[in-house]
Amino acid sequence: MKMCESCGQRPAEVEFVQIIGNLHKRMSLCRQCAASEGLSQHFEIFRRLAHMFEQQQVMQTEADVPEVVCSQCRTSFEEFARTGLLGCPDCYTEFKEHLTPILRRMHGVTRAVVSNTGENPEKSGEDGVRDTKAELKTRLEKAVAEENYELAAELRDRLKSL
């Protein structure tokens, strides 16, 4: 279990990403240290969002939640960010623009390679898992060299998912 990088005493529960310009500072903190860093304000929102990611808790200092509402079930995107849950199947189309980057981070891709019980043929296309490891690695190195950390994070996640 990862320990808090600040106190070293308690298990890290929060992945704290600070974005200053295009510099990313990443730290794993426990709840108490996250709070004392003055991050408690947005903690609740991202605690639930983190639940959605399940594996790594994610918190950002700038809560940039789009103000959109599903026309079918009236669930707002902010509500989704807070609870990690969508309101109805239509939310997927209504929030498509904002969900796509989240799906990419979460799954490495934005389309299912399997859409049934696991035995459907693979889907191809730019978001499929056709990229080879070597290609992704080259692109990742390039992204890091260019300090394009957003792209680097995405490529890293896609590499991991291979």
Binding site: M1, K2, M3, R10, P11, E13, M52, F53, E54, Q55, Q56, Q72, C73, T75, T83, G84, L85, L86, G87, C88, P89, Y92, L99, I102, L103, M106, H107, G108, V109, T110, R111, A112, V113, V114, S115, N116, T117, G118, E119, K123, V129, K160, S161
Partner: protein
């Protein structure tokens, strides 16, 4: 409320779930495997957004489907609002329903199979969540057990599915095949050698979610961990099953190595921990819930490595279940006073460990 416990429909379930009877050597580290398949019906909001009426309709619709499938005699349908708090707590301890379903409000239900650890939750996070638990490392077998059951429901119900995202679920993490597999692992060796940190971070890198199984939040009681994985959008179910089998093997190997280290280097610490736990279980007069899991874990390790005789793994698995809070109240104990409960828990532990001895 359904009246007295003696009349409760829970009495129709097998008295002890299968997972609590597992005592073979292959259940020593990977206690059990659980697979869960989630589905939602088209034309309905997800449960969190459904009003009372539509939830009632949903529960009724699924109950009708269970009858149409001819499987109603295989289990018991529990409507949660009609159950007492104790009955709900008991179903959670039995692992027949999730703590989330227990905590939720409003119409919701669970169809629990009588003779196997399988249940279908209705209106939990998704409309339907079917899961089954088998002792040991058995992801493929559990998946193959429940997939045909879900296929049965699929023939009669319109599940909502997208061409690009697979089965749609309330939480986007469950998109795709909407299947998740969990391994429940007893890792006292890795906890003591601190090897757990290394295992947890490499498992997390591989996309697994790790958490303590008993207890809330980040507390780890009884050295029991839950490793969870799903295929998500980027993998096939068969790939996920292979991944979970291989992480299971790796967990077993790492735990085995940690136990060897503990037995060979500075083993007086390990001896102290196991014999002390056994001593408490044999002589205590008050035993608390969380403490019980820690003590049972230490003695279980003693049995695994041959340092404790006179009790077997199966008996310890059974105690993990039987000394549970709701279970104690359930078996005739009406007194909800915690001292009295802790006293009875201690009494049962002393009884079970009468012949147990530390022999290292």
């Amino acid at each position: 409320m359904t009246g007295t416990i003696a009349q409760s429909a829970i009495r129709q379930l097998a008295p002890v779930p299968l997972w609590a009877q597992a005592g073979e050597i292959e259940h020593a580290v990977i206690l059990s495997t659980r697979v869960r398949i989630a589905r939602n019906l088209s034309g309905e909001k997800f449960p969190a957004k459904m009003d009372t009426e539509s939830r009632v309709r949903m529960v009724r619709r699924i109950a009708d489907t269970i009858r149409l499938l001819g499987i109603e005699s295989e289990g018991v349908l529990f409507s949660l609002p009609t159950l007492s708090e104790l009955e709900i707590a008991y179903l959670v301890e039995r692992r027949a329903i999730s703590p989330r379903l227990a905590r939720m409000e409003g119409p919701r239900a669970a169809f629990v199979w009588k003779d196997r650890d399988r249940s279908l939750m209705i209106c939990e996070e998704d409309h339907l969540r079917l899961c089954e638990i088998l002792p040991g490392l058995k992801p493929r077998q559990v998946y193959e057990n429940i997939l045909p059951v879900m296929d049965g429901f699929q023939r009669l119900l319109p599940f909502v599915k997208s061409e690009t995202l697979g089965y749609l679920a309330a939480c986007p993490a469950n998109l795709g095949a909407a299947v998740r597999t969990s391994l429940f692992c007893h890792l006292p060796g890795l906890m003591m050698t601190k090897g757990i940190q290394d295992l947890a971070s490499s498992a997390a890198d591989a996309g697994f979610t790790i958490r303590g199984f008993w207890g809330e939040g980040s507390d780890v009681l009884g050295n029991t961990f839950q490793f969870t994985d799903g295929p998500g959008l980027s993998h096939r179910v068969s790939e996920m099953l292979t991944r979970i089998e291989s992480i299971g093997q790796e967990i077993m190997e790492r735990e085995a190595l940690a136990r060897i280290d503990l037995q060979t280097q500075n083993n007086y610490l390990l001896k102290d921990r196991i014999s002390r736990a056994l001593g408490i279980l044999r002589s205590c007069r008050q035993l608390q819930d969380g403490e019980t899991l820690a003590l049972l874990s230490a003695v279980r390790l003693g049995v695994d490595i041959g340092w404790v005789s006179g009790i077997d793994r199966e008996a310890i698995s059974l105690l993990t279940f039987k000394l549970g809070r709701a279970r104690l109240e359930w078996s005739g104990l009406t007194d909800r006073d915690s001292d009295r409960r802790n006293e009875i828990r201690a009494e049962r532990a002393r009884e079970a460990f009468t012949n147990a001895e530390f022999i290292a």
